[in-house]
Symmetry: D2
Subunit: 362 residues, 4 copies
Amino acid sequence: MAGNTFGSIFSVTTFGESHGPGLGAVIDGCPPGVPLDRALIQRDLDRRRPGQSAATTSRSEADQVEILSGVFEGLTTGTPIGLLIRNEDHRSGAYDHLREIFRPGHADLGFFLKFGLRDHRGGGRSSGRETVARVAAGAVARAVLAGFGATVRGFTVQVGGIRAEKFLPDTAEGNPLRCPDPDAAEAMLALILECKEEGDSVGGMVEVRAEGVPAGMGEPVFDKLDAAIAGALMGIGGVKGVELGVGFAAAAMRGSRYSDPFEPGPPVRSRHNRAGGTLGGISTGESVVARIAVKPTSSIAREQETVNLKGERTTVKIGGRHDPCLCPRIVPVAEAMLCLVLCDHLLRQRAQTGSAGPLGKV
Amino acid sequence: MAGNTFGSIFSVTTFGESHGPGLGAVIDGCPPGVPLDRALIQRDLDRRRPGQSAATTSRSEADQVEILSGVFEGLTTGTPIGLLIRNEDHRSGAYDHLREIFRPGHADLGFFLKFGLRDHRGGGRSSGRETVARVAAGAVARAVLAGFGATVRGFTVQVGGIRAEKFLPDTAEGNPLRCPDPDAAEAMLALILECKEEGDSVGGMVEVRAEGVPAGMGEPVFDKLDAAIAGALMGIGGVKGVELGVGFAAAAMRGSRYSDPFEPGPPVRSRHNRAGGTLGGISTGESVVARIAVKPTSSIAREQETVNLKGERTTVKIGGRHDPCLCPRIVPVAEAMLCLVLCDHLLRQRAQTGSAGPLGKV
Amino acid sequence: MAGNTFGSIFSVTTFGESHGPGLGAVIDGCPPGVPLDRALIQRDLDRRRPGQSAATTSRSEADQVEILSGVFEGLTTGTPIGLLIRNEDHRSGAYDHLREIFRPGHADLGFFLKFGLRDHRGGGRSSGRETVARVAAGAVARAVLAGFGATVRGFTVQVGGIRAEKFLPDTAEGNPLRCPDPDAAEAMLALILECKEEGDSVGGMVEVRAEGVPAGMGEPVFDKLDAAIAGALMGIGGVKGVELGVGFAAAAMRGSRYSDPFEPGPPVRSRHNRAGGTLGGISTGESVVARIAVKPTSSIAREQETVNLKGERTTVKIGGRHDPCLCPRIVPVAEAMLCLVLCDHLLRQRAQTGSAGPLGKV
Amino acid sequence: MAGNTFGSIFSVTTFGESHGPGLGAVIDGCPPGVPLDRALIQRDLDRRRPGQSAATTSRSEADQVEILSGVFEGLTTGTPIGLLIRNEDHRSGAYDHLREIFRPGHADLGFFLKFGLRDHRGGGRSSGRETVARVAAGAVARAVLAGFGATVRGFTVQVGGIRAEKFLPDTAEGNPLRCPDPDAAEAMLALILECKEEGDSVGGMVEVRAEGVPAGMGEPVFDKLDAAIAGALMGIGGVKGVELGVGFAAAAMRGSRYSDPFEPGPPVRSRHNRAGGTLGGISTGESVVARIAVKPTSSIAREQETVNLKGERTTVKIGGRHDPCLCPRIVPVAEAMLCLVLCDHLLRQRAQTGSAGPLGKV
C-alpha cells in the first residue's frame, strides 16, 4: 500500500497539497456512537494553525474543517468520516522561482527522484501543511480515546541549547512555545526571535505523553507499541530521532542502575517507569512518554548553495513564510500521531482479546 | 493485523518461542529468480548465534535453517519461502521458578496483561530468541538487495561510556563487538567482562548503514523511509531510541549550521548527508545511516525486587544464560531489519513507478 | 482494516452517504505521470448518473466531480488523488417514515445490528449512491490501464427471463439497457416499464469483459485474479452471484468436454477460453469474462410486511425514487470494480516481478 | 501484499509445494486462551486426506500436523501458531515429462507467465495440495468460532447432472460424496466411477452453511461478508462460480416474488432467507448459505492437445494421481475458507464495536 494510510483498524487516509484546493482525511473503522462535532476537531486544528504568535509563520489559514460523512445527529455512525479543510492563503506566486530549483534539506529532491515530477508550489504534498489532515484525524482519535479514559498532551522541552527544567504541564498552553517550564519558555522565545531576525532557524525537542492508557496495547513482535510510536513520530517532517522512556541515556547505563523494580498493586507499577510505559512493547498502564528531536527549519532567509533541475550549481534564497522553530506547531501534530497510534492499537487489542484493557489482572 | 508480519509487499511473518519446537519465518512476495540457498541464510544466522565469544550468552544453539518451500533448483520461485529453525538447547527447567514471577524490565508483565496468560519459559515469544527468524528472513532480503547493488552493515559504536572514535568498517567483524574501532573494541570488551563478573550488564549503541540504496524509496506521508526504519529498529527488544543522520544533535543546531548544500552530480549529493540518506522521507541515493540506543540487559544475576502473579512483593535472581551486553548480537538483527525495510520499499517503489531506482534524473 | 478501502497498492478509500453533504474517494498509489482531468472522470460518472432514461430512477443528481489533490498540470503526481461529489437532490423528508422501520431486503437491518444506530435517510452509507465514489475511482484506474493497453466494458445480458442472444458490443451504449443485443434490449425495456407500472421490479445479469489484460496478474493462493474479481463484484449492492468463464455450467460438465487445448502462439492461447481469462488464478492474456446475478430492486411501491425498531410487526410502502431494474446502472459500477481489481493487480505484479506483463514468454 | 496471507486480523499465511519438504500455515491474531491441540486440527485434515474412497486420488499422505508454536499447555497464547505438515508420498518422477509441457486447464501456464519459471513437480505451489494448509488453519478458526456458538458444514449437492434433492445434513459424512441426500450420493458415486473408468472427470457443486453466526459481521462497502465469502471460495482451485442465498436464480425474479418480509423476533428474521444470511453484506444471524460451481478435474487420463515451453504444438497424457471429481475433497476446504472468513470478520466486528455480536437489538 502507498504511504498515505495510517493504522490498520482505526485507519486514516489523508490527501492534499499545500497549494491545491484543500486537504483532508478519511477515517475508517471509527467505533460507532462516539460524540463528535466540528468544534471538537476545530479545537485541535486551531492549536496547529499558523500565525498565532511571533514564533510562527505569518501564513494565515482559517483551517475550517467540514465533516463530509460518518456523523449523524452528533454521533459517529461507524462508517467513514470524511474531513475537508480548504486552502485559502496560498500565494503560489512566491514559489515560481523554485520550479527549477531544489531547496537544500527539503523534500524537493526526494519527490523528484521518486516521481519524476513534482508540485513545486510550497512543496506540494511534502509541505508541513499536510499535517493539518493528521491533526484533524487525530482529534477524532482523541475523542475515541477519551471514552477509554486516555489523554495525550505534548510539550516543547528544548529549543536550541535551552531545555525545560521544570514540568508544569498546565502552564504549557499558556505560552507560545507550549513549554511546561514558563521560565525556559521565555528564553526559548527570545532565542527564536533572535534567529528569525537573523534569517536563521533553530532545532528543538518535543515530548508527548499519554496518561490513562489501558494496559495490554501493542502487537509484538513487529508492531510493538513503542515501535509504532517511533514510526509514527519519525514520519513527521523535520523529526530526526525518537526515544521512549530514558531513551538514549540507556546506552551509557548499567543494568543494575537501569533496573526498575515492580511495585505491588493493583495495578503493578515499575518504580521509575524507565521504559516509558511499555514492557516488551506492550503498554503496562503507566505513562507513555516519547521525545522527538526536531531539526531547524530548512527554509532560511539566507542564500544557500544548491543545484537546479539540470543538476547545475546555483543558489537559492527562500521566500515564502516559514516557522523559525518547528517545535510549537509540531506539538499538536505529535499529539495527533500518538492519538492515532493509541486508538488503533486499542482497537487491535480489542479485536484479538475482546478487551480494551488488561486481560491479565495483577 | 496482528504484529507478526512485517512489510507490505516483501512481507515476512515469523513465529516461534524460545522453548518450543522451533522458530521460523514465511516470506511472501519475494521476486522470482533470485539465487538463494541454505548457506546464504546460514551465514547471517551464524553471526547472530550465541556462544561465539566471552561477550555473549553461553546458550548453545546450532540454529540450522531448513528451507521448506519457495526455492526450486537454486532460485526463488516467487511463492512463499518457508524457513524453520529448530530449538535444541532449551533448558526450560531453569525457568520454572519464573512461572509465578514477573522479571523487572522484561516483557513478562506486558504479555500477561495483554493475553491473560504467558509461556514463562525463557520469555516464550518475547525472548530475544525470536530474532533468529528476523535474521533468517533478513538474509533473503539481503540477497534481493544485492541484485540491486545495495548492501547493509551494522556496527557496535558505543558500550556504556565508551564510543568508537574511528570508523574502519572492515575491521568490525574481526572483533567480538563488531566495533569499527579496534581500540575501542578492546576497551568495550573489557567493560563487558567486568560487568559480567559483577553479575551486571551494560547498554550501548549500534549503527546500521546501507550503501548503494537506489533513490526514490520511501512512501510519504506515513511510511517514509526514515519512519519505516525507525519503527523497524525500535521494535527490536531492548532498543529505546532511534535516530537518523545527525539525529538528536539536530535539536541544538541552527538552520544555518545544519544547512546541507547540494553538490552537482550526477547524481546530485548533499555535502554532509546530515539527513542520513533521505529527504522528505525518500532515499536520495546517499548512505542511509541510523543509530539505536540499546538498554542494558534486564536479566542480571543480582537479586531484584519484583512482584508475583498475585501482585505480592517478592524478589527474583535470574538464572538462565544472558548476554551482558546486547549490542554485538543486535548488530545482525538490526541489519536484518534494515534489509527488510529496504527490500519492501524497493518493491513498493517499483509497484507504483515501475522503477526500482530514481524516476527523476539529476 | 474496516471495509472502505479497496486494493493493496492502487488503493481506494471511499466515504459518504446518500443524504449527507457528499461522497468521495481517495486514491493512493496511483502511478505518477498519468494524464488525468475532470472530464475523464466525469464521463464515467455521467454513465452511472440517474435519470437518464425511463428505465432508471428519477432522482436527479448532477454528480459533478471535483479533483481535490494529486493532479498537477494535467498529470497525476503519485500523491493521493482526492475526489469529491456533492449531493444535491436529497429529499430526505421522503425517508422520515423509515426512521423506525426496517425495509425488507435492505441493508437497514444489517447496519442497525452492526452499529446499533443508522442514518435512515435513503439508506445512508448503504445506499446504492455510494457507488458514485467507486465509479469515480474506477475512472482513474481505467486511465492507468489504458496506458497498458487494457480496456474494460460491461453489458446487461439478462433482464428477468430475457437474455441477450447476440453480442454486438458497440451497440450496447446505444440503448438504455447497455445490452449488446439491440433486439433483446427492446424486450428488456418493455419488461422493465411493465414492472415499473406495476410497482414492481425485476432482476437480471450483467457481464463485464476486459481485453488486452497483460498476462501474469493474480496473486495465488488467496488473491488470485478470479478470487479478487469475485470479491469485488459480489460487494456491489444487489449482486447475489458471480461466475467466470463457463461458470456454473462447469458443474454439469465432464473433463473431456471442458478440456480446453492450448493453441501455439505467441502468445499461447486456450482454444475456448472456458476459464474466462485466468489459469491458476493468473491472467493469461486472454479476455477476462465475468458475469454477475443482480437481484430485483428491493424497494418496490407495494405494501410489504416488516418490523419496526421495537421488533413489532408492521407494514411499509416505500416512497423515494428507485430503479425498477438495477442492471443498466450497475454496468458502469461493475466496470469500475473490474478496473480497480486489474489496476491493483497490475501494480502488484510489477512490484514482485518488475514487469507489468508476462515474465515467462511463450 | 503478495497473495499467501488471508484475513486482516485473524490472518493466515500459508506456504509449501506439492513436492517440496512440506506445507504449513502461520496463524497470527488468534485470540488467547482457546483450547487447541493437534487432534482437533488433525480431524479436519483427515477429512481432506486423499485415498479415503474410490472416488478420490490414490496418492497416500498421512498429513500429520505438527504445532510449532502459539499453544502452551493446551491453550492458544495469542502469539502466532505455526503449523507444519510434511510431504511423504511425492513421486516427483511421475512429473518429469511435464517439465517442458503446459497441461491444458492447469495453472502451469499461469505460473510460468507470472514468474518466468515454475516448479513443474505436481504443479508445485499451484497443486490442490496447497489446500492442506488452508484446512489446518481453518480448523483453528473453527475452534475459535465454536467459542461463539457458530458452526460450519459443507456438502456436495451436485455431481454432473445429478443434484441432491433431500437435505439430511447428518447423513452427509456417511457417504464418500459428503452429500446430504443418500440416494443422490449413490448415483453420484456411480457417475464418478464411470468417469474414472473412462479416464474422464466430472464437475459438481458444493454448498457450505454456517449456523449460529453472530449478527453484525461484514465490513461495507468493499469487505461485505458476502463479498469476502465470494472471494474466499472463488480462490479455491477449480471453482468457477459462487452464489449466496437464491443466487443466480434472482436474475430471473421479480421484486414482488423475491420480497422477503421480516418476521418479528427477537431476533427479527426474514421469512425465506433469500439473501443467504446477510443484508447489506452484514450478517443478520440467519444461516449463511453459499454454493460454488466446481469444474471437472483438468487432469484426465486422455491425450490432450497442448503446447510446450517453446510454444510448439504437442500432446500430453497426464499421469500422476488425480480425483475424478473434486467435490468431496473440496468440501472440507470450502468449510475451512468459510471458517476463516467468519473468524476474521468476527474479530473485525469486535475491533470496531467492542462486541462479537449484534450491537443493535431487535
